[in-house]
Subunit: 219 residues, 8 copies
Amino acid sequence: MTVNYDYRRAERLGMPEAILCDGKSCRHLGEILRELGERPDFPVLFTRMTPGQFEQLQDSEGASLDYDELSQTAVLHGNLEPRAGRVAIVTAGTSDLTVASETTRTLEFSGICNTLFADVGVAGLWRLMERVDEIADHDVVIVVAGMDAALASVVAGLVNKCVIGVPTSVGYGVANDGRTALNAMLASCGQGIVVTNIDNGFGAACAAIRILNALALDE
Amino acid sequence: MTVNYDYRRAERLGMPEAILCDGKSCRHLGEILRELGERPDFPVLFTRMTPGQFEQLQDSEGASLDYDELSQTAVLHGNLEPRAGRVAIVTAGTSDLTVASETTRTLEFSGICNTLFADVGVAGLWRLMERVDEIADHDVVIVVAGMDAALASVVAGLVNKCVIGVPTSVGYGVANDGRTALNAMLASCGQGIVVTNIDNGFGAACAAIRILNALALDE
Amino acid sequence: MTVNYDYRRAERLGMPEAILCDGKSCRHLGEILRELGERPDFPVLFTRMTPGQFEQLQDSEGASLDYDELSQTAVLHGNLEPRAGRVAIVTAGTSDLTVASETTRTLEFSGICNTLFADVGVAGLWRLMERVDEIADHDVVIVVAGMDAALASVVAGLVNKCVIGVPTSVGYGVANDGRTALNAMLASCGQGIVVTNIDNGFGAACAAIRILNALALDE
Amino acid sequence: MTVNYDYRRAERLGMPEAILCDGKSCRHLGEILRELGERPDFPVLFTRMTPGQFEQLQDSEGASLDYDELSQTAVLHGNLEPRAGRVAIVTAGTSDLTVASETTRTLEFSGICNTLFADVGVAGLWRLMERVDEIADHDVVIVVAGMDAALASVVAGLVNKCVIGVPTSVGYGVANDGRTALNAMLASCGQGIVVTNIDNGFGAACAAIRILNALALDE
Amino acid sequence: MTVNYDYRRAERLGMPEAILCDGKSCRHLGEILRELGERPDFPVLFTRMTPGQFEQLQDSEGASLDYDELSQTAVLHGNLEPRAGRVAIVTAGTSDLTVASETTRTLEFSGICNTLFADVGVAGLWRLMERVDEIADHDVVIVVAGMDAALASVVAGLVNKCVIGVPTSVGYGVANDGRTALNAMLASCGQGIVVTNIDNGFGAACAAIRILNALALDE
Amino acid sequence: MTVNYDYRRAERLGMPEAILCDGKSCRHLGEILRELGERPDFPVLFTRMTPGQFEQLQDSEGASLDYDELSQTAVLHGNLEPRAGRVAIVTAGTSDLTVASETTRTLEFSGICNTLFADVGVAGLWRLMERVDEIADHDVVIVVAGMDAALASVVAGLVNKCVIGVPTSVGYGVANDGRTALNAMLASCGQGIVVTNIDNGFGAACAAIRILNALALDE
Amino acid sequence: MTVNYDYRRAERLGMPEAILCDGKSCRHLGEILRELGERPDFPVLFTRMTPGQFEQLQDSEGASLDYDELSQTAVLHGNLEPRAGRVAIVTAGTSDLTVASETTRTLEFSGICNTLFADVGVAGLWRLMERVDEIADHDVVIVVAGMDAALASVVAGLVNKCVIGVPTSVGYGVANDGRTALNAMLASCGQGIVVTNIDNGFGAACAAIRILNALALDE
Amino acid sequence: MTVNYDYRRAERLGMPEAILCDGKSCRHLGEILRELGERPDFPVLFTRMTPGQFEQLQDSEGASLDYDELSQTAVLHGNLEPRAGRVAIVTAGTSDLTVASETTRTLEFSGICNTLFADVGVAGLWRLMERVDEIADHDVVIVVAGMDAALASVVAGLVNKCVIGVPTSVGYGVANDGRTALNAMLASCGQGIVVTNIDNGFGAACAAIRILNALALDE
């Protein structure tokens, strides 16, 4: 049950090596931590690590994980070097913060400057309008929204940068665990919105890193 | 194959007797026209009558149908008496006009004053903002929108009247023949939006009439 | 993790400021309660607050929440002023009462007079027929029903007021967590039924308030 | 491409040998007709035969098919012997008549007495109430209805015989080509409703024949 | 929160008054038991009563419920009078027994003779062939099967009585909680199969009762 | 718009180079034919070529395509060398023959001996039982069936060779364009059935070839 | 039926004003052309214009549309100014070229340099490996693929730039009109892939433009 | 509640008698164990036995079950005789190991030699390329993969043996509990891939056994 680590991923793709904890047993995660513990020069991000998993790992392994409960992420061996580029993360409601914080943690781990604009959903449009110029002043804009996800369409009509939509699984009934938000973002009347899987705050950060990789080359 | 007409519907429910032509053969529609032709005091609205159906009926029956191609509706024996109340119809894009015109025709047939606000989708937000006060000055607001249907959420945050969403089947891929618009409206972050079936411009007009029925009582 | 409260919503939309507790942590709700505790002139409705959440908040905050277990709602700082208009709430079975009570609590919070007609499903038609005249004597009729939701269609054929359908997630198998009731209401043969999201008793109350807003203007 | 005919089906199952024409080429149907033409003692029912198919077969084969356009059925070599038992067929709207006529034709072919109650949908409840005693006076009741299919639930609450629901694909949007009617019938609050595939008027007739088979034994 | 009991259902429909416990709180069920406790002449069947619910009710109410754990049913005030007619219940696998036992309990409560043929799925066809003549010798045949539900099609080809399919939610993946079994039964190549909701063993028994109601009349 | 042909596929994978005509314009197919016309040593199979496409290509190109209308396949430059192994193709109904013939044509093109067992569906079980020993005497068994696809489960219980299910899109309503047959095969109670995409007769033949590749090695 | 043109979109968002012809009548498109004909300084892109629409418009309007049949796009009043940045478009099969050409046409209209890498699907992996370095040497990579869309995952593992997946509706059965490709791209094991609606080649180009907008700022 | 064991299955089909524990109560499993305990010559495989079920059975029965936690399988009365043929099992990620180990345990129980190639997903393509020749050197290749399942397509392009895809339910959002992996495998651009139900590692092993049955005959 050994893992094929991708020690050269950061070098090859400019993206962090990350371990998805969801669906892995604590015994398996323990083995991974022991193996990685011997490579202090290899920073790793753990995503979707539940507080329960963290507690068990903390007790039995002694690994110095930097854990954040809201985003359910843990960092091993510190963050990567700071890099150029600025990313805005915009959320529709306070329930979207869990997903948004996965994005911000991944960006911080990757050394990328970012700003969070929370609770600016379109049901109270003035909240967004007050901050739209500030949002537009970033290289990439990530919109985290559930239910009708109308925020993504409105933002895309107001800023000219890449708008990455992250649909969230908040809501009930026809919110359909995020599928309605996903489809609404994909079918948006706003031109050129691109979208990640539901609740994939990590993936949105990786997409932003890919975009900034091109910027870095051009500089 | 006789039809059980509801000659007292207008009286009982305050709503028009309407014949849905979709799925009926021309022979069957012809029989209906002949029967109704003998009751000139009984105004009837035909919905979803294709131009092809109209042409065949016009030729063979000689019934004096007042046909409108955009809305695919026909009126027999004139409109109902004018009634109190004003309804706003707001559309996101020009492709939604077919459905919106079914609403306006049904309201006109029912004697109700209405205003159409076309092509004010949120991708260009200023188009809506210019007219929002005018929209708010109606008793009922019907929002006709497809794809992400974000317009319904934004309008519901700006006006305090009943907002009836009519999802439309425009768009492709995950627009899912209007299901995404429907679900987005139902899961809207805007409080108290109510929704009809996809493309059901007729139903939205009937709902508005039901609302105005209560107003009429209170006056 | 601050919230952008909409202190002027009641004034702007005539609808209550409401906090959806579903998906919020108790820590987050505690912060909200502390903040709102300092604004005794700002009545707030909490929806989908589980008994567990209520107990934790009651212990740690000391806020004087008026909690109702059946509807899972809590009121802070009392109800709004009484307003004109009467709303009927009709339920198909006793399992629909949880959702219906969210509607009645929201209306009471908003100062609106309402009557509950419980367990009048169409499997025993005489139960409905006995009370239909009483139901028809309201400004708005909200039908709360799950499974086949046939009650909405029958009521819409008998009363001439706005019929708002609230599909519920009761039942099993092809009841599909309320999707069958939702679709049956949207595809109803009853003209002009409008519908909310599944189990959205709060939304139905808000829609009724929007309708009564227009009535108030006309009076 | 020969067919394995089930010459003993009537004897074994008491049900007609039937050929589904949908999805078969005219060449294939022609071969079948030629083969069966040589067995005049073997009555056969053809279902879902389009007018186009009938015309081609009529021209090229000379077989004496008794064709009915509304039900899209054809009978070869006459009907079966009359049998005991009476079946009621009840339809919600005139658009359901195509499916209902497939049921009545199959019953007639099978020698079974049946009555059609057309256009008694619940949107105008009095139409059903006038005829419910007459309906209840049959051995089996088949309800053919699309969209919300509320008629099946109401009938099941009023009669004590087997109620077979046949959902139809009429309607648009969330009528979902009959899936909403199907699910509403299956999730009906009426006890003991059983259901066939969408638009399967033939299957409902066969189910009725199976029921009458048991009656015949007991007599 | 009172219930509108249907005290005349047995008389009107020949079917048992039944209380679905699923989705009802123990407090609510307790109230029902207290009310019904005062009508010893009114036999009632409780369905989907979990062992947990039964224990709580047993402790607090002292009502003499006759509880069966496998079928999750309880009987209050004894069974109904014996009636004519015989019903066969056929199951594909041992996992389908929970659902099948809901059918047999309902039939026993209703005074109807029935036989269970367990674990005769088509993966080992000889198991079915050994007993098929015995099965055919009943007035109604109920087939309880999950996953591919192939048993229903095979049985329908071998017996000439009404075959009622009850799809079950056993299995995983594309078994889709019984939807695949449901659709396979509805689309069966076996003529005249009729179907109930997933896991609805109670409904199948009620359908059998409706069929036997017609037999009783004819005798 | 050149195509990257895989001239070494037969050598590398033992499978035919095949061109899917579905979704390609006649102009594009014409270019392909011209290019391949210059490589007479490179046999190619064209699948899903409509009669319309064939006629246009025949007229304009003069390429010597060996076309078969039932299977909608065309062969260019003759069949491959005969190979060891025998494949049985079993169909439930005559409507499945189109798909089954795509399988037999692909096997013939690939030089593999095969036998077709047509119209042996389980609704008349004796048809299958008569031929089951003959079927079992092949190296691979391909079952082509639509609707409930019960045939695959029954065959898998009777033969011990690899059973490849090919669901077909015949039927209507909940047959769901073959999805019900697909799911029923995947959820089959028969152990070890494997399945292809709906209507993918070509893919089933390729899978059989892959299996025979292993046999060839072992011989 | 006037249109609210967004004459300042290019200025505000750096993206082209585009008219979606799908779902618009020729009469409506004619009006649009007449209106725009009077603004020669306003370049416009028409998307999803069928050959039939183009022919009718060409005849009746005399507008000098530059039409391309493969991509179903037309350009009015010439292309925009050349801009910095290079985009790679990679397709899995030749059937994906229609969608890919909508992307390349939109980029050309917008003055952006781009390269097409056609028919490099993973079924023959060497075709992709030969060109992967060349692909990696662009600022943005757009992968156009249908069916399993495996190409997107493989490319994302080999290049470090933003990978925009465009799922296409090619294929049949469970290809589900592109939904399987869409979901596979969204659930890809490749980190940071972002996705557009099915067949939305235009949207992918707009997303690339948004990304290049940020690059332009940084230069 | 007795079970109809298939004591001759191994003889008839060459496949193991297996008991699916999922959905069976411990009491029921206990009865089965007691019955089988008396037939020491009858080896049986238990699948989907949770650790909880194992513990309860171990305590109360004393049966000598050989239990494996990762695969959730238990063997009673030892493995079957060794047989000819070699099977490769290839997994995309470490989360797929649970399913893959059900396959390897079933093969070991059945006496078949097999090799596991773990964590060779296409996001890091070199991991697969290093081992592809080794994989190709088996008679059957089973690919266990979730999410986009791209590994199956890539493997099918590189080896010429039967490729059996086992989709797994790992992942979140549009991974749809394995449905996306299932559909992607079925719609794969790789020719001749065949597929089992989601997470059905046992079924894939049975399919391999069926294939090897043919090999055994030919040897």
